[in-house]
Amino acid sequence: MLNLKSKVLGLFAGAAMAAGVLAAPAKAQETIKIGILHSLSGTMAISETTLKDVMLMLIEEQNKRGGVLGKKLEPVVVDPASNWPLFAEKARELIAQHKVAVTFGCWTSVSRKSVLPVFEELNSILFYPVQYEGEESSPNIFYTGAAPNQQAIPAIDYLLAEGVKRFVLEGTDYVYPRTTNRILEAYLLSKGIKAEDISTNYTPFGHSDWQTRVAAIKRFGSTGVKTAVVSTVNGDANVPFYKELGNQGVKATDIPVVAFSVGEEELAGIDTKPLVGHLAAWNYFQSVDTPANRDFIARWRAFKKNERAVTNDPMEAHVIGFAMWVKAVEAAGTTDATAVRRAMIGIAVPNLTGGISTMMPNHHITKPVLIGEIQENGQIQTVWQTPGTVVAQEWSPHLEGSRDLIADHRPPMNCGNFNVRTGRCGGAQR
């Protein structure tokens, strides 16, 4: 921790050299550096700060167990400040200047898109922990969050099984909700839902006046046909959205809202009594009662020195990703990116919900899908789950253009977007 602090200070003070020299004799041995690329300021700080903390905890614990390959791990924390181009600059700084062996980071898809060329160019590894829209598979990125078929599609299946026939697709106006909703629309149409029974709407980031939208949702849901809202509303805007739902009396028994980006963390800021029964789809809930999860929550609370600290799905993704990386490095016997990338595929580690997650050749992991209902205490209780784990479909079979693509990063294919129709690597273009 002391090293890290002096590093960061040194950076800002422009005295990095001096600090480095001073710190060097203190280090008895060589360390393996791990980059942490999460926003600690700006709009995304609300979500990403905890991910930085969970990484620091995991690294600390690994060091107590003796580190990796006999070397201690050293976290290098940078702050890309919710600024997408700055993510690329900071990624370059981590890899080129700090020579990190691996980076854990990013939340929004746009930040991941911004750093992707950097990781490919400098051949380094990124672990991306958040559920996203798919349609991507980079040889240098390992996706530990859910692809659409590991979250959104099962949630729709659940609603269909509940007899829902009308859908409001409500999202924030950026790439993840738009792509997810495109997939969901195609999927709903294929399931025989009529186009006039699907209403799609987007609001800007940080939208706070939800009166009109909630009134419109109530109106859309008053035809006597069972209606549900599928929400890809992201970030801060969720709090006023749920408050307005509660105030206008939209009850989960009438029009349930199933959310893909609302977790325990977001609910911590709202009075959840009016929201009981609204749904969330994730691959992990804090309420899941397994020994592994109980242990994790206890460790996290001890680390945060807060008895009420909550855990959430992207945190679990980092736990899995970190354990996989440690295993892969030990299997490869080196931290060299190419060797670790090859060793990663097929690595299996226990997840926190009582199953085993495996890294597949498409660089996504297998995950169970859980549908939960919001409880009065702000927790989410599982009401339905897949019997086993689900393999990610990074290229959605429901979208034109992505239907024919597969990703397999094993030799001899070594391709993230192999077109089975043309037999060539390189996406939908001929």
Partner: protein, 564 residues
């Protein structure tokens, strides 16, 4: 022991007598029942419910046992079975389930009710259970909750609390459960409150319309009652008729639905106006402080939004303090937060004016950059101090929920904010028009040098005017903490809108600010349903740009010789 001899449907405070004995036959029981007629009717209902199903104890035991499961479908089945069985303890068991207090023992699947004091009673007999070992709660999901709502609806139509009776009638309206009809008829017969009676009649109509066995004429007459109700729930009810409904009934339902839709369309316009006024009042609150600093002093204060944020954080701190020192005051916490927020934000405003802005008068570009810098400093300071995550500000109970006026849903928090905005506006207007300080401010606005020549200390007026503007931004922060996130970014969301309102309304004119805020609010809300929130905002910006081209000084331009 025969179940019917000790059956009593425990719904709230009223104890109902079994049907095998006339009311009062067991002497002491009658004292609990308020009116004999009520007891008679209630007993009738209880008997009907009891006769509807087998009333033997072992059947009830089997029914209750069905709750000891992990399958939601089985739990729904158990709720429905129990509700129609007339089992003596149906109501307490179902209510316990609704509140998450129904548990079962893992070893032998015996079902218990957890009481508020964490002791357990047997669900079947109601007798206290001492050692019960490890239990699991009976789980709930939306299907179970729907079944519970329907069951509780049928069971609490005679509840002494009018609010419970009303919600029971609503529950029957939604469930349209035919088995509730006898209970409903009995309840209508003795209901005194005309509003609840109407709800119950509507519920009966819904049951009749949905009942395929009912006579066509009855169903069509019932559709008339539903049409008179005329809200979205009525529309949903009429839309949910199955395809097998006779054509005459369906035609009547469709024409009723068309009628309802026509009325609702009118109400919808009213709803848009209401939403617009509500948005307008938020804009007014955020902009009115800026109208003073920007309008009166000509300072482009980019840190204005941060004053709003500081007001919101002051509310948070005040509520934290109250929670520790005097939890009973929580409902009035906002009234304590208001003066605090005004003082804190005002003091910071004066400090900014004295330390930075006064050195930059007459240099708008530098002022803009300096205050922008201040806003970043304040944001990061708050982020360091309070953390980057949102802070939870409690909404007092009187600001939650909504009231219905006609088919207009008026949410309490929005109503409170509109009233608050009007009060702030009126107070400020009076202050500027009727007090010596207001007079001096207006004098400085109109002609700074002349005012100075008349002996007004213009630099002190500047400082206090800036403090006043900032303090009002702090007040806005208290209001916004109720509808938006209390996060370091709170202010950023409002700064652009505030400038938009002030520029559109005419710099330096409070009435202009009011008219502009309301115009923009209502225009925004009428555009949003058609254009969407993103495009609606763009259209408004384009409109303002065009408007400013035509009238550079806004709606109400200030006139005066010294207006540069």
């Amino acid at each position: 022991m025969n179940a019917s001899t000790r059956s009593g449907l425990d719904i709230g405070s009223g104890t109902l007598r079994p049907c095998s004995h006339p009311p009062g036959a067991r002497g002491q029981g009658i004292g609990h029942v308020r009116a004999l007629s009520a007891a008679l009717a209630a007993a009738l209902v209880a008997c009907l419910l009891i006769l509807a199903g087998p009333a033997r104890a072992q059947d009830h035991a089997a029914l209750v046992q069905r709750f000891a499961t992990e399958s939601f479908n089985d739990i729904v089945g158990a709720v429905n079975g129990l509700a129609t069985s007339g089992a003596p303890r149906a109501a307490p068991i179902i209510e316990a389930l609704r509140d998450g207090r129904l548990v079962y023992r893992a070893s032998d699947r015996a079902v218990f009710i957890r009481r508020p004091d964490n002791s357990f009673v047997s669900a079947l007999s109601g007798e206290p259970a001492a050692e019960i070992g490890t239990t699991r709660p009976v789980r709930l999901n939306n299907n179970v909750r729907r079944a519970i709502d329907a069951a509780v609806g049928a069971l609490s139509l005679l509840h002494p609390d009018p609010a419970r009776r009303a919600s029971a009638a609503e529950a029957v309206f939604k469930s349209r459960d035919g088995s509730a009809l006898p209970a409903l008829e009995a309840a209508i017969g003795q209901e005194r409150d005309p509003r609840i009676k109407k709800l119950m009649e509507e519920a009966r109509a819904a049951v009749v319309v949905a009942n395929p066995q009912a006579a066509e004429a009855d169903r069509i007459a019932a559709i008339g009652i539903i049409q008179r109700r005329g809200d979205q729930d009525a529309l949903a009810m009429l839309g949910s008729l199955p395809a097998t409904t006779p054509p005459l009934v369906r035609e009547a339902a469709e024409s009723a639905a068309v009628g309802i839709r026509r009325t609702l369309a009118v109400w919808e316009a009213g709803q848009n106006v209401w939403h617009g006024i509500s948005l307008g009042s938020v804009l007014l609150l955020a902009a009115i402080g800026l109208a003073i600093t920007f309008g009166v002093m000509g300072v482009i204060n980019m840190a204005h939004g941060e004053m709003v944020m500081i007001g919101a954080y002051t509310t948070f701190v005040v509520q934290q303090t109250i929670r520790v020192l005097a939890p009973g005051l929580m409902d009035v916490s906002l009234f304590i937060a208001l003066p605090m927020a005004f003082l804190v934000a005002g003091a910071i405003g004066i400090a900014i004016e004295r330390l930075i802005i006064r050195h930059l008068y007459g240099r708008p570009l530098e002022t803009l950059l300096a205050t922008w810098g201040v806003s970043l400093v304040l944001q990061q300071a708050v982020r360091t101090w309070f953390g980057p995550t949102n802070r939870e500000v409690t909404t007092p109970s009187w600001m939650s929920g909504s009231i219905e006026i006609g088919h207009l849903a008026i949410t309490a928090n929005r109503l409170a904010i509109i009233i608050f905005a009007i009060i702030v506006f009126a107070t400020l207007l009076l202050f500027l028009k009727r007090t010596p300080f207001g007079l001096q401010t207006r004098a400085v606005t109109q002609n700074r040098r002349m005012a100075g020549a008349m002996g007004i200390r213009t630099n002190w007026v500047d400082a206090f005017t800036f403090g006043l503007g900032s303090g009002i931004a702090g007040l806005a922060g208290v209001a916004l903490s109720q509808i938006d996130n209390v996060s370091p970014n709170l202010g950023q969301a409002y700064i652009i809108d505030s400038f938009m309102v002030v520029v559109f309304g005419g710099v330096g004119n409070l009435w202009g600010t009011l008219v502009a805020a309301m115009t923009l609010g209502i225009a925004n809300k009428f555009l949003e349903p058609y254009a969407g929130a993103v495009l609606g905002k763009i259209l408004l910006l384009v409109f303002i740009i065009l408007f400013i081209q035509k009238r550079p000084r806004g709606l109400f331009a200030l006139k005066g010789r010294a207006v540069e």
